[in-house]
């Protein structure tokens, strides 16, 4: 990296000697940036701030939008659906930072070789990632039906009695949807770990083995610590993904039965676009965004540290 920063600094020094250069240099970056910044501010940053403001109003999207202070938030705290949704988001989060990481890392370790066919296996495990959430939702809804794939399979294996209501049983429904999401997420995490494993110095591993370390110790004390930076990124991305979960819930159950599979994103959508409680919806969105922003900051801080190293 030093290679690239040195000439950049030299160019800066040259610019200091020639005033004409400096003038052009000063404006040029902004000229390049003006269009992307304009569009991004208009459709991303501006809307984000406007949502926060809407959260303090009683907007119904048509006739009124008056400032009502913290009323929406006071209402939220007493709203059972909010807490159910919040709790379900926590379940998504826990599932997302455990299962795909364990399974993805195992797959990555297993597939980190160049035997014939491995490329194809990697693509296979990864392939759910290219399917849209609607497609995954349609397939998994069918698999979870009372006479769908999973129940029929269990019956064939000797299970007796009523079929399991994967999407109807309030205790099961959130986990069922998460199951479908994990099918997709695991391949993604595997891929990130495979990229991470490329940076693990194999000679160190081999040296430790020569020195008589056990296979497990070599993994625990050498490979795992080297994968730590990747793991942090994966955890943060997984948390952000878990908080974003909406599509599968909306497609598979719309949050039902009785809101038992609801998540904050789906609750916000229903409040804002079905019930026209736009102010209230915006408040839910703000809470969701605030939780995410905590983790986005963790991510950005890591990036900043890398930046300052240059």
């Amino acid at each position: 990296m030093a290679q690239t920063t040195l000439p950049a600094a030299a160019a800066g020094a040259e610019a200091r000697r020639k005033p004409a250069w400096r003038n052009t240099n000063r404006l040029t970056p902004y000229l390049f940036l003006i269009l992307p910044i304009a569009l991004y501010s208009m459709w991303v940053i501006g809307p984000m701030l406007y949502s926060v403001w809407m959260g303090f109003t009683n907007s119904d999207g048509i006739s009124q939008q008056d400032f009502i202070g913290l009323d929406n938030y006071q209402r939220l705290v007493k709203d059972d659906i909010f807490w159910t949704s919040f709790y379900n988001n926590v379940r998504w989060l826990i599932a997302f930072i455990t299962v795909p990481i364990a399974a993805g890392l195992s797959l990555a370790l297993m597939l980190n070789n160049d035997l014939p066919g491995t490329r194809f296996f990697k693509a296979g495990f990864f392939s759910p990632m290219v399917l849209s959430s609607v497609v995954i939702g349609v397939i998994w809804t069918w698999m979870y039906q009372p006479y769908g794939l999973i129940n029929e399979l269990l019956a064939k294996l000797g299970r007796e009695g009523m079929p399991i209501g994967f999407l109807a049983d309030p205790n099961l429904v959130t986990w069922s949807i998460i199951g479908a999401a994990l099918w997709r997420q695991t391949g993604y995490v595997m891929l990130l770990y495979l990229a991470g494993l490329k940076n693990v110095d194999q000679t160190l591993v081999e040296a430790s083995l020569v020195d008589g370390a056990s296979r497990w110790r070599a993994f625990k004390d050498i490979v795992l610590p080297m994968l730590q930076p990747v793991t942090v990124i994966i955890v943060v991305i997984s948390i952000i993904d878990a908080l974003r979960s909406f599509d599968l819930v909306n497609i598979m159950t719309r949050g039902g039965p009785f809101n038992q599979s609801n998540v904050l994103a789906q609750m916000m959508y229903i409040e804002a676009f079905n019930n026209y409680n736009m102010g209230y919806g915006a408040a839910i969105a703000t809470i969701l965004a605030l939780i995410s922003i905590v983790f986005i900051f963790v991510y950005l801080r890591r990036m900043l540290r890398d930046e300052l190293e240059y």
């Binding site: 690239t4 000439p7 052009t24 970056p29 390049f32 269009l35 992307p36 569009l39 991004y40 208009m42 459709w43 991303v44 809307p47 949502s51 926060v52 809407m54 297993m110 980190n112 070789n113 035997l115 066919g117 296996f121 296979g124 392939s127 290219v130 399917l131 849209s132 959430s133 609607v134 497609v135 397939i139 069918w142 006479y147 769908g148 399979l153 891929l191 990130l192 990229a195 591993v205 081999e206 083995l209 020569v210 070599a218 990124i233 909406f246 497609i251 904050l264 994103a265 916000m268 676009f273 736009m278 969105a285 965004a289 922003i293 991510y299 950005l300 890591r302 990036m303 900043l304 890398d306």
Partner: protein, 291 residues
């Protein structure tokens, strides 16, 4: 002797020459069934899509199809409306892709190559914005598209995706451009090239691999978008394939064969893209995950 024994044992980590046939055997015996189980949902979708409804209700999901009903596909394509849903998806995705990639590449060049006030702040705003939960943008974006009379037209989706994806693309491209050796720029500057010419003649060609990787990934993301299609497009005539498929599902509630035929048609573009441009797709994803 002892050392070779041990290094053979570490087969997971070491190169192919160290694999003993026995271990290779175990690897395949384990991985292939695992992969087959992993892909069961996809196989069953394939199988169900060619069956007749009677066959499904009579024999359950696990039997072989009694007949191959390709009729399901043409039903989904014509009556199910998949033909125009598919067209709409392309009409939205391709311009959105052009917008986000071209603007992001301009911005990324500035962020990677110039020192100026606010550089890092702007860069982090792009990255942070791209990680936000969509709900925080939904209501204002919905309103803005109404105000600008874009709501319920292709443009609402094109402009929003084009703008939103600038964040991620800038992130990836900026980091990519930083790896280009500075000498190239200095040489061009000494020759008197304008910054825009440097961008167009030197940076753009060099970033093509990254742009290709991003294009593959972004195509899949925009093509697969469900939420924004739900919010910004109402008319059935304009729906992309994601919300279109959801409507098709409403129409053919118990007809899983038609639903699945539609599903399979809907995944063709992204699957084809993935098969042929897998390398780019994966590069795009891993480039985005930081170093």
């Amino acid at each position: 002797m002892a050392t070779t024994e041990i290094s053979v044992d570490r087969s997971d980590y070491v190169k192919r020459r160290d694999w003993r046939p026995f271990r290779i055997g175990i690897y395949y015996v384990f991985v292939i069934p695992l992969l087959l189980i992993w892909l069961v949902p996809i196989f069953m979708t394939l199988l169900t899509s060619v069956r007749s409804l009677d066959d499904i209700t009579l024999n359950g999901p696990f039997s072989w199809p009694t007949s191959i009903e390709l009729q399901n596909f043409s039903d989904a394509w014509t009556q199910g409306g998949l033909s125009h849903y598919m067209r709409n998806s392309f009409i939205v995705t391709i311009p959105a892709l052009v917008i986000c990639l071209s603007l992001a590449s301009l911005g990324a060049f500035a962020l990677a190559r110039f020192r100026f006030k606010g550089n890092l702040f702007i860069y982090f705003t792009f990255v942070g914005g791209s990680l936000l939960p969509f709900q925080i943008l939904m209501l204002p974006v919905y309103r803005l598209s109404n105000t600008l009379h874009l709501y319920d037209t292709y443009w609402a989706l094109i402009v929003f995706h084009g703008a939103f994806q600038i964040g991620f693309c800038t992130f990836v491209l900026r980091n990519f451009i930083r790896t280009i050796p500075g000498e190239i720029f200095d040489a061009a500057r000494i020759d008197g090239a304008s910054e825009f010419r440097i961008y167009r003649q030197h940076v753009l060609p060099l970033t093509l691999p990254a742009i290709a990787a991003l294009a593959t990934l972004e195509f899949t993301w925009i093509f697969n978008d469900y939420l924004w299609a739900l919010i910004l497009v109402q008319r059935d005539k304009l729906k992309p394939v994601t919300t279109g498929l959801a409507s098709l599902r409403g129409e053919y509630i118990q007809a899983y064969n038609i639903q699945f035929a539609g599903t399979l048609i809907a995944v063709i573009p992204t699957i084809v893209l993935f098969i042929f441009l897998q390398r780019y797709f994966i590069q795009g994803l891993t480039m985005g995950s930081g170093k």
